[in-house]
């Protein structure tokens, strides 16, 4: 085995372990979010379907699906890295990784990649179930993929930051409920921001989740509230910025190495 293989095996093992960690409890980590998204779809389409048409020629139920998929992708990418880190810190088993020759960059890449995989796994599952009932176009598949990967990457990095910062489950729940949930619910998952008053439209533009949802939806319908390229640049820029912060925290050993 070459030295390169040996060096690659460390982060690959951590990535594999992180994947297995969520897969072992896939009922909770994959099936449950799919169920939640479908319940949203059922209720909102029942209440608003037929009464609201956001984009010309696109029924409300169809409009809703990409937003719900992306919201679940983002929430689960965040949950993967944040819950793994906080659990390992509270249980103390983070020491097993800290004792190894893995670098901070390898640690980051393994956690990030696992978060992206979980996000994509949940998103793809919702998509598969949804297309059994609703005809969903795929106008720009590469945009769909790009927003899903960079969006889940961004939230994966954000999850690492939260996991490093939080010292107890209570703090993590606060992060989830007071940051992630409001940002995702107020990002245009259930509506177009053009239906909002001008002030709230401007506020929505400050929410990075809005760009992820709108760009992702553009990939399906070929139409969105703003330019998909602009959204993509915001998402990629935010991903790079958050990754930089995360890597800096890991390099400094923030709350990991005293």
């Amino acid at each position: 085995m070459s030295l390169i293989d040996q060096q690659f095996r460390g982060p690959w093992t951590l990535f594999k372990k992180e994947i297995l960690r969520f897969w072992r409890v896939s009922f909770q980590t994959v099936a449950a979010p799919v169920m939640t998204a479908l319940l949203y779809l059922l209720i909102f389409s029942h209440v608003l379907g037929g009464r609201v048409e956001v984009y010309p020629g696109v029924p409300y139920t169809t409009f809703l699906i990409p937003g719900l998929i992306m919201m679940s992708v983002l929430q689960n990418a965040f949950a993967n890295s944040s819950s793994s880190l906080i659990q390992s810190k509270v249980m103390g088993n983070i020491i097993f990784v800290l004792l190894t020759p893995l670098s901070y960059l390898e640690f980051f890449l393994a956690f990030l990649a696992a978060s992206i995989i979980r996000g994509l796994c949940v998103g793809f599952s919702i998509y598969l179930v949804a297309i059994c009932f609703i005809d969903l176009p795929l106008t720009h598949p590469l945009f769909i993929l790009a927003f899903a990967v960079f969006g889940s990457g961004m939230l994966g990095a954000f999850g690492i930051i939260a996991g490093l910062w939080a010292e107890k489950f209570d703090q993590m729940a606060a992060f989830q409920n007071f940051v992630i949930m409001p940002l995702s619910f107020l990002s245009g998952v259930f509506y177009s921001i053009h239906s909002l008053p001008p002030f709230w439209q401007k506020v929505s533009h400050l929410n990075p989740f809005f760009y992820m949802i709108d760009g992702f939806r553009y990939g399906f319908f070929g139409q969105g509230d703003i330019s998909a390229w602009f959204s993509l640049s915001v998402v990629v820029g935010s991903f790079i910025a958050l990754s930089f912060i995360t890597i800096s925290m890991l390099k400094a050993g923030y709350k990991l190495r005293g």
């Binding site: 085995m1 293989d5 040996q6 060096q7 095996r9 460390g10 690959w12 093992t13 951590l14 594999k16 372990k17 297995l20 960690r21 072992r24 409890v25 390992s88 249980m91 103390g92 088993n93 020491i95 097993f96 990784v97 800290l98 004792l99 190894t100 020759p101 893995l102 670098s103 050993g253 190495r257 005293g258």
Partner: protein, 299 residues
């Protein structure tokens, strides 16, 4: 030969607390070394620094010649640490956990034979497929030791490995660790059971409040205590003339510190004069505990 461990003027501060105050220590390859000291002496901090879990405020540490900061990859390959707490990953079974741990060190399926050997040597064969959550405390301790060995490190650090472990398991662990030492591994041990350190370790460092107050071979340290201990079980309380000699007391059971064996006659004469019966008597050689108590009291 490159020392297994070289610690040079290491200071560590946690805010206002000066946990290590300029520690110098060299441990040669193949040694069985004890790091002793009361709680808060800095033993765990020193181990954490060696393992890269904490960074020194100043000074340097090297494992097998590799600096723990600048050459951390090589240094961590060279050291295996058994932590004091019974920590585990609840998602995996023993074998999976060991394979993951070996994988972090770049070791793949070619290492499985060694993992099997470690599992067998530590009596974990029946539990290899059992989830870590379902293991007893003793089995978790064995798994932790196995985890520190999966990458075949030349230096093994055991932080209180027998804390809360029953006698049978303790004996089994020491036999296994002695075997590793015979095979050439350097063993560094912290323990509260001083008789363990005395029986196993060839050299001892005593830490107190972040400083090494004694560093010598176990034999030389024992030689620094010239006196003997006299253990007595009496029919009544010890007479006032002998109370200065008391080291330990439990009801009418006493352990007295004597300057030399000649003092025994004096003690017995005083007891006869006070009409106190000796129900049992034992003259004991000084042990590491005496050295420990003596040095801790003095420094």
């Amino acid at each position: 030969m490159t020392p297994a461990i070289k610690i040079d003027q290491v200071h560590k501060q946690f805010g206002a607390l000066h946990a290590l105050k300029g520690v110098d220590l060299t441990i040669e390859q193949g040694e069985f070394f004890a790091l002793l000291g009361p709680n808060g002496a800095g033993k765990s901090t020193l181990i954490n620094l060696l393992a890269g879990l904490t960074r020194p405020t100043s000074g340097s540490l090297a494992v097998m010649g590799y600096d723990v900061i600048d050459q951390y990859r090589q240094a961590r390959h060279a050291i295996g640490v058994v932590p004091q707490e019974l920590v585990f990953d609840p998602f995996f079974n023993v074998r999976e956990m060991l394979r993951f741990q070996a994988g972090y060190f770049g070791k793949g399926p070619e290492n499985d034979a060694w993992i099997d050997e470690v599992i067998e040597s530590l009596g974990l064969t029946d539990k290899a497929g059992t989830n870590m959550r379902r293991l007893s405390g003793g089995m978790k301790r064995r798994a932790l030791i196995a985890q520190a060995l999966v990458h075949k490190p030349p230096v093994i650090v055991l932080d209180e490995p027998t804390a809360g472990v029953d006698v049978e398991l303790r004996y089994m662990l020491w036999e296994f660790i002695k075997r590793l030492n015979r095979e050439g591994h350097t063993i560094i041990l912290t323990t509260h059971y001083l008789e363990e350190a005395e029986n196993l370790c060839s050299r001892v460092a005593l830490l107190k409040q972040g400083e090494v107050i004694a560093l010598n071979s176990t034999k030389n340290l024992l030689a620094t205590i010239s006196g003997k201990k006299l253990r007595l079980k009496l029919s009544a309380a010890l007479p006032g003339s002998l109370t200065d000699l008391i080291r330990l007391q439990e009801k009418h059971n006493y352990t007295l510190s004597l300057q030399s064996v000649n003092q025994v006659e004096y003690v017995l004469a005083e007891l006869r004069n006070a009409n106190i019966l000796v129900e049992d008597m034992q003259l004991i050689e000084p042990d590491l505990e005496d050295v420990f108590v003596d040095l801790m009291g003095r420094a």
